[in-house]
Symmetry: C2
Subunit: 195 residues, 2 copies
């Protein structure tokens, strides 16, 4: 369904792990081959170029993020769905902290137009999802209507991004989900219309 072989998936996972632990500068074909336990040319049996590996990696993360949004329950209130969405994002990061690092390696993809566009789309996805839920919340009358919802989405998504960045920089040394929940609840408290 994803169009990837098992071996291609292996390579992507190892690539993500390298980026997570050592930064994207350390993601070389050499290091990738070493961690996979094969030689460098063998990698080219599975991907035509390093750029293709990165593209597949970004596409994988993109699909994964879409899947998370799709899992968010339908019946709840928009604010509950917002809580659910970020809770699931935090859960994924806890299970696979490596994914966080990739999203903060934007700059590394600037050279390659295709990769730059993909990583940009990946970042925008979370913002768009947030904006959509906030629009729904306003339509439902769950949040105050006297503030721009795009500004709200910017603050919420930006705040969570900053939190994840600091968590990643700290070596994942604290409970992201707990801190994240605190930020989300603070946000909800600010925008919620008392019922």
């Amino acid at each position: 369904m994803t169009g990837l072989t098992d071996r291609q998936r292996d390579i992507i996972q190892v690539a993500i792990r390298i980026i997570s632990r050592k930064g994207i500068q350390e993601l070389t074909i050499r290091n990738l081959a070493r961690d996979l336990g094969i030689t460098e040319p063998a990698i080219y049996r599975h991907f035509q170029s390093k750029s293709d590996i990165l593209a597949a990696m970004l596409e994988y993360l993109h699909r994964d993020t879409i899947a998370i949004f799709d899992q968010v329950q339908d019946g709840e209130s928009a604010l509950d769905r917002l809580r659910d969405y970020f809770s699931r994002l935090f859960e994924r990061l806890r299970e696979n902290p490596a994914t966080a690092a990739v999203v903060f390696s934007d700059e590394a993809f600037m050279n390659d137009d295709r990769l730059a566009a993909t990583v940009r789309a990946l970042v925008e996805l979370t913002i768009d999802n947030t904006t959509n839920l906030l629009t729904l919340a306003r339509e439902n009358g769950e949040i105050r209507a006297d503030v721009d919802e795009y500004d709200l989405a910017t603050m919420l998504a930006g705040g969570v991004r900053l939190l994840v960045r600091r968590w990643h920089m700290s070596g994942n040394g604290w409970d992201l989900a707990a801190q994240g929940r605190s930020v989300i609840e603070t946000f909800v408290k600010l925008v919620e219309v008392p019922r």
Copy 2:
């Protein structure tokens, strides 16, 4: 006072410009020399290593950010000082858009412990400044007291960071100060205690 020669300042400015336009991957001694109009070894007359150039660049940005915070007027209310602070940050970015790019190249400094610590401190600086102003605002009774101010600082600083990132990614194609003001005012509207 800064301990830098004129030539060292030239080099830092050109380095910042390269990072801004092409990303940190393109910041090589070769490209730096070419843009400066001299040969590569000449650079080593002014800095002992590439790492030293990056360290000096980060230190320069750090001093600059501190200077901006110090310029914020004293007499106003804490919320007005907050507005003033971010307004000055946006103004600096408008005058020198290159500085934005550097702060988003965190990952590039991960290899070098000294650089990593410096860039981390640079990012924390804005958050700390924001937190301090929010603490003051609460003490003055300007903002509601039922929300965690560290969460507030995370959302505000994170939101602004995200905004700046998108502005940079768009090739500085729109008015950052105007969009930034909108985010700040939305934030103020959320936290302000009606008087």
